[in-house]
């Protein structure tokens, strides 16, 4: 009978790096997006502006689009075309898409005039543009699924354009079943994935500071010192946006 030494239990926080790909992936992820950057408790003071609201408005609309879409998909066209409740959920699905695009376009305008690709945020900008383009395709398939004269008109106006660029076989707007699958599986997954990546990149680089935030701005200067090497404004926020500090009794009274 041989005896083997029982390995000592690993303590929390003890580095257990065996050099595997999972270890490397974990190190990379923690370096890029530590938990306090993924879920920050506060934000820079300049985030308290309506100019920083519309991105989250678009995400909130997307959540309702997906939730109402799941309900529509589970109940089917006979339900949402005929019953009053089905018609209501169908309409809320449409109107949340309208809000999604309105918020997304205003978000795009505001970030364009803010030059939001500054400070190493090019990928954040590109994923935002990608989410806009993929969302247009997803919305287009949704309009085709209205199964009314409007959708028939849209489909047969679009089919020649799609055939002319050679995608008509895989994206056949006259094939309702195929468009239904595109609309409820592939395109929502694509929109969701790009939007999640976009939000994660915002967390990695931080929200873009306003153009008039000067280099000697206290917050940006502190951030630069804290993260070291990252562009100004890319580090951790330093001013509480949601919590109150003892130094601000006036806010506490509100």
């Amino acid at each position: 009978m041989s005896t083997r030494a029982k390995p000592a239990p690993r303590l929390p926080g003890q580095d257990a790096d065996a050099g595997t790909w999972t270890d490397k992936a974990r190190r990379w992820l923690l370096a890029k997006l530590p938990p306090d950057k993924l879920l920050p408790g506060d934000q820079p003071i300049y985030v308290m502006s309506w100019a920083y609201v519309f991105g989250m408005g678009a995400v909130a609309s997307l959540v309702w689009i997906i939730a109402s879409g799941v309900v529509l998909g589970l109940n089917g066209p006979q339900w949402y075309h005929v019953s009053p409740l089905g018609g209501f959920v169908n309409s809320s699905h449409l109107w949340s898409v309208e809000l999604f695009f309105i918020f997304m376009v205003v978000h795009l305008w505001l970030k364009f005039w803010m030059a939001a690709w500054r400070g190493g945020r090019v990928l954040t900008w590109i994923t935002g543009m990608l989410s806009f383009i993929v969302s247009i395709v997803a919305a287009f398939t949704g309009y085709l699924l209205q199964t009314n004269f409007d959708s028939q008109w849209i489909a047969f106006e679009a089919k020649d354009a799609l055939n002319s660029v050679g995608v008509g076989a895989w994206f056949n707007v006259a094939n309702l079943g195929q468009i239904f699958v595109w609309h409820i599986t592939l395109l929502p997954l694509a929109v969701g994935a790009v939007v999640v990546l976009h939000v994660l990149l915002v967390r990695v680089h931080g929200v873009v500071p306003p153009l008039d935030a000067s280099e000697d701005d206290a917050q940006l200067r502190t951030n630069t010192v804290e993260v070291g090497g990252n562009p100004p404004g890319a580090g951790l926020p330093v001013a509480p946006a949601t919590s109150l500090t003892p130094a601000e009794p006036k806010d506490a009274a509100r």
């Binding site: 308290m48 309506w50 376009v105 205003v106 505001l110 004269f149 409007d150």
Partner: protein
């Protein structure tokens, strides 16, 4: 079964269009664009609640 299809088809109208010198836009599209422009301007002008007094 065919009744709701017929009723549905009856609700599809041509819509209201506005046009100026060769430029034409449907009322719904014009309203959405106007709403977006108004929201853009308001986002720049309106103070954010709770932001007053913070430094």
């Amino acid at each position: 079964m065919a009744g709701w299809l017929v009723n549905g088809a009856a609700t599809v109208g041509a819509g209201t269009y506005f046009g100026w010198d060769g430029f034409t836009i449907q009322s719904g599209n014009l309203i959405v664009i106007a709403v977006m422009v108004i929201l853009f301007i308001l986002a720049l002008l309106l103070p954010f609640p709770g932001g007053k007094g913070r430094k």
